[in-house]
Structure formats: structure tokens, C-alpha cells
Symmetry: C2
Subunit: 256 residues, 2 copies
């Protein structure tokens, strides 16, 4: 990998309950913040249904294209948990009960006073060649194979698995960020902000409108791996905002 390129990643969320609107996904955001904090660029996220063909197709598209793929959901003990099978098919490897996962689950079921049934032991089925990701919350492990990290869908468990991966994942140059608030609508900043963005090609500048008590405002977010370039661009944006705010009135408008 070129020293100036950062590792790239994608997230694949698997779950009918997200696409039906029943559940609001929060895992993408959690993973995004985790990756941003370690200098890995999250380039894409997809949400697909509990359908093996769809999971396989999305997984193969994403793992070919990005350095890492993180999946969430579909690794529980019931019939709709098909992620492990889909991952095995995507990699063209067999799947069977992983001895270490069997051991973990046997202990869990013993502690819970449960018999070892076929359904319960489904969670020990792991594609060949995969390594387990420990689950300190509810025990049933995730796994990683090649550049794919397969995690639970329950946010608390997903977060715990992500923490387990912390030491194993690469780190890139961290992206630094500054946020500057302008008490002006986006349109007042457009031309000058565009000129600053063009003059600083290594700084990504985004602008996000908001409305507070009827007054339009804009949050300008500058992001860069180059702290010096970031500071220069931020100083120019700051000066622009101060200048425009002094010159242009910003009366409240009827934002319903």
C-alpha cells in the first residue's frame, strides 16, 4: 500500500428489520466513528435483506473493492440467521462447527441450564479458514475471514466485537477535523467557500445547514490528514465567516 493512501473500508448491514423501518440502524455510525478515529476511510455502506443471494453479491462487490468489509447482523441461532452461510458461499469455502466456538457455546448453555440442540449450536457454524471474534457480552462469537469481519447486529454486542478487533486492524493517518459555525444561510457562503476549497485540495470542506429559532445557520466542517493545511484553510474560513457575519443581516425566516 502506498504510504499516502489510507486503508479503505465498507460496511454491510444485513437485516430485513432495517429495510422495513422497524429498526433504526446505529451500527453504521458506530463503525464509521471507530474507523475515522483510526485513520481508516469508510467509503461505502450498504443495507441488504436477509437473502443469501443478495448478501453474497454485496459481499463480493465490497470485498473486492475495499481493504476491509464489516458486516453486522444475521449470526444468531434462528432460521433467518444466514450470514455465516452466505460468507462461506462468497468465499467458496465449506462451513461447519468450529471446535472453539462449540466449546464456548457448550459452556454458555451449561451456565444457562440449556441442552445442546441443533438450533443453539447453529451459532458455532463458521466458514473454514475463519478466525473467531470474541463476544464478551453474550458469548456467541463473530468471525473474520480474509478481509471480511462478521459481527452481531445487536448494537451492544457489535460494539464489543469492534473493541476486540481494535488491536488487529491497521491504522492510517488520522483525519483531523474542525467545525466552524456561521450564523448565515449556506447560500451566503457558497462562492467564497468554493474558492477556499479549490485553493486547498488536501482539505475536504463540507457545509451543513441548520435552523435555530428561525435563523438559518451553517456548520462548515473541514477535514484533512494534513494538520498544517487544515489550520490554514480553517483560518480562511473563520475570517470569511467573521467578515460576512458583520456585513450581512440574518433575520429569522419562517422555517416551518
Amino acid at each position: 500500500m502506498h504510504e499516502h493512501t489510507n486503508p479503505t473500508a465498507a460496511v454491510l448491514v444485513i437485516g430485513d428489520e432495517i429495510l422495513s423501518g422497524r429498526t433504526q440502524d446505529t451500527n453504521i455510525n458506530t463503525i464509521a466513528r471507530f474507523l475515522t478515529g483510526r485513520g481508516i476511510d469508510l467509503k461505502e455502506a450498504r443495507i441488504v435483506p436477509d437473502d443469501e443471494d443478495e448478501i453474497v453479491a454485496a459481499l463480493n462487490a465490497l470485498r473486492d473493492r475495499y481493504d476491509m468489509v464489516f458486516t453486522t447482523g444475521g449470526i444468531g441461532p434462528t432460521h433467518d440467521d444466514i450470514t455465516a452461510d452466505a460468507v462461506a458461499r462468497a468465499f467458496g469455502v465449506p462451513i461447519s462447527h468450529h471446535p472453539e466456538a462449540v466449546k464456548i457455546l457448550r459452556q454458555l448453555f451449561a451456565d444457562m441450564g440449556r441442552e445442546e440442540t441443533q438450533a443453539r449450536m447453529r451459532m458455532a457454524r463458521i466458514p473454514h479458514g475463519a478466525e473467531l471474534i470474541p463476544n464478551p457480552v453474550s458469548k456467541a462469537p463473530g468471525f473474520h475471514i480474509g478481509n471480511v469481519y462478521v459481527m452481531a447486529g445487536v448494537p451492544k454486542i457489535m460494539q464489543a466485537m469492534l473493541n476486540e478487533l481494535d488491536e488487529k486492524l491497521p491504522r492510517g493517518r488520522k483525519v483531523h477535523a474542525r467545525t466552524i459555525r456561521a450564523d448565515l444561510p449556506e447560500g451566503d457562503l457558497g462562492d467564497a467557500l468554493s474558492a477556499i476549497a479549490k485553493a486547498h485540495p488536501h482539505v475536504a470542506i463540507g457545509s451543513y445547514p441548520f435552523n435555530e429559532k428561525g435563523h438559518f445557520g451553517t456548520r462548515i466542517v473541514l477535514r484533512s490528514r494534513d494538520e498544517t493545511a487544515l489550520q490554514k484553510a480553517a483560518a480562511q474560513v473563520r475570517a470569511l465567516v467573521d467578515d460576512l457575519t458583520a456585513k450581512i443581516p440574518n433575520p429569522p425566516v419562517n422555517w416551518e
Copy 2:
């Protein structure tokens, strides 16, 4: 379209701020609930960065495959707002200032005491052949072209644009849903639930674990367009849950 197939849809969220983790997306969930309520199947969602090539590629993949595509984000007045250009490129049509959009924005800027600048009028640039989607909140319109609906990223504005589309979109047969709570871990239900799912091919059965005060539990969600089939399957799940709950103890476990 075959009378038994429902319209399908995809969501394309455009925005670096979602992929960096700075902002938690809520638009996918809002659109998902809107579509589910009218019998349109949301089949996929993607989040891509503010990058024209990426937007064009994702848009073309999704609009070829699904009956409708809903995009959010990137239609403001600043340099990082490139969605309209990307949509024009994806459809191979020119883009220029739309007379009706120009009129709306001129009125807005007059009301705000603002001059008409190039940056401000960027929001009137609309691909040829598109129709405007009114924006009752902050005026700058969205648009639709072919099977693609282009909406703002700010949730309040997106929701308002979605409401404006309500009369124009097709309706499918609504999916009915029942949720049954089991005070048992998922693994206790697995085998029997799988048998019920197999016996009711027109009912989708999902199971979602939770933990409450240390006790494992499972929410079983049944979904179907066929209300009679749904009621039959739900009655079987209800009986299964009652039977198992009476038989199997569910002591608290240490879910950290």
C-alpha cells in the same frame, strides 16, 4: 407489473458526513417506514461519499434494478452539493437553471433580503426532463426524473418532500405485521420457529434478541401481505412461546 408483485425501491444516501460518522443518518429509516406503509418494498440502501463518479455508479446500478430510487443529500448551494450534476450525468441529459426553480428561489432571496448570486442560484440547476418536488420548509426544491426522486439531506426537509410525493407514488399491497414477545433466549425457539417458518412460505418470520434486566428475550416479528396466513402463523408462534415459557426457566444471565 404482475399483480402479485409489489413495487420495489432503493435509497441512496449521499454524504461524507454520514460516512465519517459525524452525522447519524435517520433518513433511511424515515423512508423505509413511509414505503412499508404504502406496500412498497425497500430492497436495498446505500451510502456513498460526495464523489460524482461514486454517485453516478450507484444511481445507475440502483435505478436499473428497482422500480424507484430515493436519494437524500447534496442539493444545497455549496461546492460539495453535486447530486444534481451526478443525476444529469447518470441519465445522460443536460442540466441548467429550471425556470420554475429560479422563480421560487428569487422570491426566497427577495424575502431574505439577499442578492441573487451564482452560488445561491446553484440550487435552481435541475437536469432536463425532471419535475420539481416542492419544499414547503426551506423552499429550494428537490426533483424527480425517470424513476429517481432527489431529496434534501436535512431530515425535516426530506420528510416534507416525501409528504409531497405521497399522492404521486404507486401503492402495493400493504405488509401486515405482528410482533410476539418471548421471555426466552432465541436459541430456545430456533428449531420450532424454523418449522413454523417453513410451513408458512408467505409469512416472513424474523427473530430479534434483547436483554432486559439480565434476562434474555426474543421479539418475533411476522410479516405478510396475506392477513389470513399471518394470523395462522402468529397463532402457532404464540402457542409455541406460551408452551416453551411454561416449560423452560429463564434465569438472569450476566449480559455485561
